[in-house]
């Protein structure tokens, strides 16, 4: 029975000019967004890969210099993009594209792409994610707001129920009809998306991206199902189709436009972050009390000196079998690393807590749950940016250690007064391996977004239950 109802609903919808137009526009926008996302991904990832190679070449071709000078020159790390970012650009426009891995400093990522764009960008970007999160639910609302309300107004609902049609069949049939109508839109889009992904991904990353894409598909389907359920429930309960439309549009605006901003305000109020000035100041004060590798007179450098003199049982630095500057530089780095870990750790922890608030706000707005899952799976959320920043920082520390250990332990740099005129060349630079980054797996991503997962599933179940109950107590007129 409900297949018949579904078929009738589908026929109604596809014959309706309004559905055809809105579906065509939505499909056009979705395909356009995917195409643009693909082109953008290809361009940026090529650029960053080339830049990463170039910075490696610059490192190797530094020529002859003191290892500590090489450490100061450093390398740059350029943020890689994942293929699925063609669907959801996430926070990428708002985080820096590159960071300088130099001595004594953990630098932040600089040059946020959004700073070079105009203010129009803040009004909304056309990405696959915005179409799926904002426009498809609107389409669902337009398709289902008068599912029951119009039938009631036209009098056909009374006729249907007098025929003995089960209310559950009616609800299920209408839901299925909408689902198939949406499928006419989503199936081609998904096919194009997978093709774009295959074209975009290179050397094996397609296979790695497929599970992410599959999960993304599942979560968007749950989101759409929640909207279908809510719309059917409201349509069944509302006094008239006009009231149903206004309520659903109000919910759509609250969900898509208002709640993301209110969630940001709640997160900032609950877990405020320090200003950049305050953050830098605290780190500077903490570092001052440490070892300044360049300044042999700082207190902790003095302590290190005494320790080494005792350890090697000599009474002058020049008699040490190791180079004091190298060791003092590394000691300075180690202390600095502790400071950076504490401060950046605190900051990133605050960001994580803010994310929790965003995810919890999905209790009111399901889009926040699907947004965070979508960004996570596309590799464009903050945790994955922090993961890359962590890997880059570990690489920086490895470079510093290698350079400082060479100064400290290499027989050629034994005496103190040759410390900063001691020169090395390619052979040392090449001992530093190239920077290789492996993106985290799908289970890591999902484990970061458990709350969103739970709330999205909750919304879908709630919506289905609401639709069920609303149709059980269906008013006939």
């Amino acid at each position: 029975m409900f297949f018949t109802i579904a078929r009738k609903e589908l026929l109604d919808m596809t014959r309706d000019g309004r559905f055809r137009w809105s579906a065509a526009i939505t499909l056009g926008l979705l395909l356009g967004a995917l195409a643009l996302g693909w082109q953008h991904y290809r361009e940026i990832s090529q650029q960053h890969a080339a830049a990463q190679k170039a910075t490696r070449q610059q490192w190797l071709a530094q020529g002859s210099k003191n290892p500590h000078s090489a450490a100061h020159y450093g390398v740059y790390a350029f943020k890689p993009k994942q293929p699925l970012s063609l669907v959801d650009r996430g926070v990428d426009p708002y985080v820096g594209v590159a960071t300088w891995l130099e001595a004594h400093k953990q630098n932040d990522f600089t040059y946020r792409p959004a700073q070079d764009a105009t203010a129009v960008q803040r009004l909304g970007e056309l990405t696959g994610a915005t179409v799926l999160q904002l426009l498809v639910p609107l389409l669902i609302v337009l398709l289902t707001f008068n599912a029951f309300a119009a039938e009631r107004e036209q009098g056909t609902l009374r006729q249907l129920l007098s025929l003995g049609v089960r209310r559950s069949d009616l609800a299920a049939g209408k839901a299925l009809g909408v689902a198939v109508a949406l499928g006419l839109l989503l199936v081609p889009a998904t096919a194009v998306g997978v093709a774009a992904l295959a074209l975009a991904a290179e050397n094996g990353s397609f296979a790695a991206s497929l599970p992410r894409m599959a999960w993304m598909g599942v979560f968007y389907l749950l989101y759409f199902a929640a909207f279908v359920g809510i719309s059917l429930a409201v349509s069944a309960r509302a006094r008239s189709s006009r009231v149903a439309l206004v309520t659903l549009l109000g919910f759509w605006i609250l969900n898509g436009l208002v709640m993301p901003k209110v969630a940001s305000d709640l997160a900032k109020a609950a877990h405020p972050t320090p200003s950049a000035f305050e953050f830098a100041r605290r780190m500077e004060l903490a570092l001052k009390n440490g070892v300044d590798g360049h300044d042999p007179q700082s207190k902790r450098a003095e302590e290190l000196k005494q320790r080494l003199l005792r350890q090697y049982k000599v009474d002058r630095i020049e008699l040490l079998p190791v180079n004091f500057s190298g060791l003092s530089l590394q000691e300075g780095e180690e202390y600095g690393n502790l400071v950076f870990d504490r401060h950046y750790g605190q900051l990133w922890d605050t960001f994580r807590r803010q994310e929790r608030v965003h995810e919890l706000a999905a209790l009111v707005a399901p889009v926040l749950a699907v947004r965070s899952l979508s960004m996570g799976l596309a590799g464009t959320d903050f945790p994955q940016h922090a993961h890359f920043a962590r890997a880059a920082e570990d690489y920086r520390r490895m470079i510093q250690r290698t350079m400082n250990n060479d100064i400290a332990y290499n027989p050629g740099s034994r005496s103190e007064d040759k410390a900063f005129v001691y020169m090395r060349s390619n052979d040392l630079w090449e001992t530093v391996p190239d920077f290789r980054y492996t993106a985290p797996g799908t289970s890591w991503v999902l484990s970061n977004h458990v709350i969103s997962l739970a709330l999205l599933a909750g919304w879908t179940l709630l919506a289905a239950a609401a639709a069920w109950m609303a149709t059980r107590n269906l008013r006939v007129d």
Partner: protein, 478 residues
Amino acid sequence: MLTRIMRHDWRLLAAERTLWAVSLLLALTIGYGVLNGASWVAFQERTLRAALAEEQERLTGIKTGIADADAGRTSPPSWLDPRSSYAVGYRLGTRYATMPPAPLAPLAIGQSDLLPYYFKVTMSSRQSFLSADEIENPVHLLAGRFDLAFVILYLYPLVILALGYNLIAAEKEDGTLAMTLSQPVSLGTLALGKIGTRFLFVLALAAGLSLAGALLAGADLAAPGALVRLGLWMLVVAAYGAFWFALAVLVNAFGGSSATNAVTLAGVWLGLVLLVPSLVNVAAKAVHPVPSRVDMIQSMRVASQEVTARRATVMARYLEDHPELAGADGKAQNEFGVRAVATQQELDRRMEPVQEHFNEQIERQQALVDGYRFLSPAIVAQSALYDLAGTSAFRYRHFVGQVTEYHQAWQRHFQPLTLRNARFTPGGVDGLPRFAFREEPLEAVVRRAATGLAGLLVPTLLIGLWAAQRLRRYPVVG
């Protein structure tokens, strides 16, 4: 006649729940938006105060540091010695160039959450201090802020459409339209009267609440140009509202039912406020792509490496150009100072063209994209509102221009001192160049706002004329 229609219509409107519910919603959202704007401005002001206090402390510390070092109480290494001009200009005495929030900044957060508002200027290259991003969770930057500008751009049109979608259609459906028009009154006058009531009400609400909000948020209306900006702000809000009212009348004039009108107007709102801006974004990126920052980083790295590698040559050439600095043996009398200044100048000489080229390309792209804004009143209004509140890229670029000048003045002050290896004295602290932000001349802001107003009023007028023409052929019955 018109005032009679308006009075009567007001009585009808005021009796309905819709008007008060919608007004309450608008009032609450405006209040919340202004609160958000005010707290962001307060945060910026706190940060700037803290920065300037730290600078004062550091500069006083230089004076005492000089005394301590002279007395032998401390023996700082050369790069931290307050008696070394190089150390002061490069690190110890660096000053902040700050851009305080504009008087109307609480009204629109605009781009100010993304663009820096202070820089720490040093003797080193400009590029070393120009990335001064504020700490903010990028998800918040992505979602945008709930400020008054958001309410005006997105929710205010919805309020207008909610009040105007069934302007004429309701009367027609109730059957009273035919009766009213059998009196000696034209449909145009009737429509104008009804629109007039609603327009005045909504405008009074929006403008009045904005003003109240601005005052509560502590906007400094006594600042030069603040009242002009506020006046222009009200005009932009009025013009934007007029556009949406004209649109409502037009859609009504086609003779459809209330429900059809509602859906059509909602569709137009969606198109103009959400879709057109994102399509403009897409077109801007495709047709006027921004040059790559990554390439810029690479060029600068190459320049810096070349200068370091050829340091000896650079220094030799500098001594040739400035023979007064060479000693009897042909080498520099003050090798460290000459090397520092020579390499810095060479580095600047190489990096400036790269930076300038990049800036030019960006500005050109932004100017072209600004031209596209006339495709949607929402973009025109956004640009005007952000500009009047002083949180747009225009004010930021004006600030960066002044910072560049200040940086050059800073370098001009310290490079001669470094070359001579002049001793830095406590008196030198008071002679340090100071930065004072100068606002853009008001004419520039007014000119841009006027263009924005034209961009809103011209479509409004055209739509109004079209609506008037259609109303003449309105099917009053059937």
